[in-house]
Amino acid sequence: DVKVTQSSRYLVKRTGEKVFLECVQDMDHENMFWYRQDPGLGLRLIYFSYDVKMKEKGDIPEGYSVSREKKERFSLILESASTNQTSMYLCASSFGDLVGNTIYFGEGSWLTVV
């Protein structure tokens, strides 16, 4: 079974802190994604990566950056956390071509910024 593991399930951070959310997948998938999920807004894509060191902006990249130094690991970075970044963050991965492939999700990381 594909496993996408998010390192932290629940985090509480202070405004202005630098926050790292880590994600690892064990199926040698080319593509990795970071989404955030908010009530009433559904899932929104922050960034995705289709290869090591490659990244593309999604719909809401402002305030975030990402790092993919190894194929299995995709990190989401909040340079200076703000309260409006309180949300559930979902990491995901998929194999091969972006088109027509299943996306596998991690269990999510609940981030609260106070």
Binding site: V4, G42, L43, L45, V99, G100, I103, E107, G108
Partner: protein, 110 residues
């Protein structure tokens, strides 16, 4: 940009009944996928239907796609309490990434 939109937003039924959720979208798609999310957990892929397909089945799930109406439906037959979850449709346009709708919350009461 939001593509798929699910209807209804919430659905409450009794065990044994069928549950139907709909998804409408605005532009021509490459494929449409349905995902399920248990409360507070990640999403799990249920089924993918391509633009040249009209119907697919997987166990108690039946998905239809009507490209002329730009809509899809997910039917869960003989619902169980364990089917209680949120269900999302996700559309793919060309070579873009998937775009998810806001979901339908399904509650199945014993």
């Amino acid at each position: 940009s939001q593509q798929g939109e699910e209807d209804p937003q919430a659905l409450s039924i009794q065990e044994g009944e069928n549950a139907t959720m709909n998804c409408s979208y605005k532009t021509s798609i490459n494929n449409l996928q349905w995902y399920r999310q248990n409360s507070g957990r990640g999403l799990v892929h249920l089924i993918l239907i391509r633009s040249n397909e009209r119907e697919k089945h997987s166990g108690r799930l039946r998905v239809t796609l009507d490209t002329s109406k730009k809509s899809s439906s997910l039917l869960i037959t003989a619902s169980r309490a364990a089917d209680t979850a949120s269900y999302f449709c996700a559309t793919q346009v060309g070579y873009s990434t998937l775009t998810f709708g806001k979901g339908t919350m399904l509650l199945v009461s014993p």
